[in-house]
Amino acid sequence: MNLARNGSLIGKSDRKRGGDADRDAVLIRFPACTLAILLGLGAAAFAAEPLDVKIGYLHRPQHQETISLVQMPPPNDGLAGAQMAADDNDTTGRFLNQRYSLIDVHLKAGDDPAAAVKQLASQGVSLVVADLPADQLLKAADAGKPHGMLFFNAAARDDRLRQEDCRANVIHTAPSRAMLADGLAQYLVWKKWMRWLLVVGSHERDKLYAAALRRSAKRFGAKIVQERVFEDTGGARRTDSGIAQIQQQIPVFTQEAPSYDVLVAADESEVFANYLPYRTWDARPVAGSAGLVPTSWDPSNSLWGATQMQSRFTALFKRQMTDIDMQAWTAVRMIGEAVSRKNTTDEKTIFAFLKSPELALGAFKGQKLTLRDWDLQLRQPILLTDGRMVVSVSPQPGFLHQFSELDTLGYDRPETKCKLQ
């Protein structure tokens, strides 16, 4: 699998799909009249030239290193998911005379995302999947606004992007921290693990995750019996004989806590959470950033036909599919869904379709996925995984909602601070 460099076209040419000759052969099999009738698309379907759907992909300089070697982010994390979805869209496109290409822009540290967006705009790209941190995403979205560009946030979990900093041209396929925390909290409450010891990292995003967990605890009736901060004092995540020290440090760090049922860790910075399981002073399970982790996807997920998705992904990329891959896949599939239904690349029509109840996205989540019209967040179930198995899926039974049980996860309509503009 070739990976594209800045601004180069990827998609059909470097794939094992059989190339253009094969596609032409398929198209020729349709008598023109049949094609027009079956597509019901009118004269546009007669056009010899396929509808070209260009999708930009903004790729962050580097993903977070992890404590665990097996969880280290692959270099094409996210991008691979987008590529597979473009591939899937292309297979469908063969029958509809639509063609998809993905334009990957890999930002380097210090690059201005606004410049990358302008470059994409000049290439006629109006649909962009972004794997960017919150601030960079906002810069990109605002730079794309005058060009009428529509963005899909496939990675940033920040609640502010769905709340006070929401944008009318940003759809979120990544679940927010609030959704992840709510998904976890519902399960812990269902288990009657009501007393939490909350351990928070010292970085900004750890604090944001902790805030989401506090909100969830309050929402679902759990009690945080104590909070502790795990200070990042620097140093390497893994060393040859590091384990000896950790075995001493973690019990000491977690001792003398008030009675608790579960230790909940907020450590998006990957400084300490994965050191906690099996090492706590009290014999207690760990959840949050380690142990039982809420996520949109896990390579172990085999529910709802997901096995097919996993095996197709592994066959293509020789690695396992991550949550960022899934969120990027979902974004590109949303575009494909809109284009196949509306037969247009016009971003306004696509946007209107995606926001409407017409959208019924199949994404191996056991039900159709739709957008929240108040903040453009994709409704989705949250998987709870221990890294080997999917332990449960939230929303949990009994958490009811008058409109959609998926809206028990994250900020609901009455709570929103988002004013889309």
Binding site: V26, R29, F30, T34, I37, L38, L39, G40, D88, T91, T92, F95, L96, G305, T307, Q308, S311, R312, A315, R333, E337, S340, R341, A360, L361, G362, G366, Q367, K368, S404, E405, L406
Partner: protein, 342 residues
Amino acid sequence: MQAAMTGLPNNKVTTGKLHMMWRAGLLGFALVVMLASPANAYLAYVSNERSNTVSVIDTDKLEVIKTIKVGERPRGIELTKDEKYCLVAVGDDDTIQMIDIQKGEVTANLPSGPDPELFILSPDGQHLYIANENDNMVSVVDMATRKRVADVKVGVEPEGMAISPDGKTLINTSETTNMAHFIDLATRKLVASVLVDSRPRFAAFKNDASELWVSSEVGGTVSIIDPAKHAVTDKISFSVAGLRGEAIQPVGINITKDDKTAFVALGPANRVAVIDAKSHKVEKYLLVGQRVWHMAFTPDQKYLLTTNGISNDVSVIDVASLKVIKSIQVGQQPWGVTITKH
């Protein structure tokens, strides 16, 4: 019946004939009684996805009379036309197994391609068409030579399979492409693809060939397609009081021989919808077991059996009264069901 069959010499032809004679005799003496009495003793074969078994149900007694061990993850299930074999797709073993009906055990494997799920036999029984979800193909297996003879490229994740009543057209639905593909069986070429709602799982023709019905599991609808025009002409939606729309996930479709009534299994809605097949109006929802996916009529159409994946049972619907009359416990996660015709 089972005892009689196992007591006979191990000769398929002889046993088959005796079986028929036995049934003919029975018919002769019971013809009048039959109209009011329970259905004839057909055998229903149910694939249990999690148990790796096939349960055999006597549809007269409405109880399991035998359980057959099969490979990993049995799903799609169908009898050969001569009813000597029951074919079952065992996805995790990447094959379709042939259960010898008389021996009551797996005696052969067919080359299916990876992870087979649903398949269908040609009306003459000579070819088997298999949906291969992992490589976006429909594979054709010659049943005489038991060899894979052709592949047809279709959309992403092919699943549902149906053959037109004239035997000329194969329908395949692709779950991620969201289409019903029309394949001409003479040339094995794709002739049309019709867009339907999300995740089409199952396709069924009316017996008079006037309509093709395709269920969309995630979309929550059944599309009615004009098979001549290759166009969606109507769409059936479902609504059950007190149930969220997302829980309504249509999968299996069975239409009565007279084309008057259609039954649609609604998955986690735990209900089977009864539809006036002419007006396409939903008339009734029948509460069955949990996560109902596939169904089969007894040949006399007295009963409709449904597989309920989460409650590990088969519900028996009395077709005339539209009542669920019994639940039969089978193996874990029953998936598909097929019933003998003789």
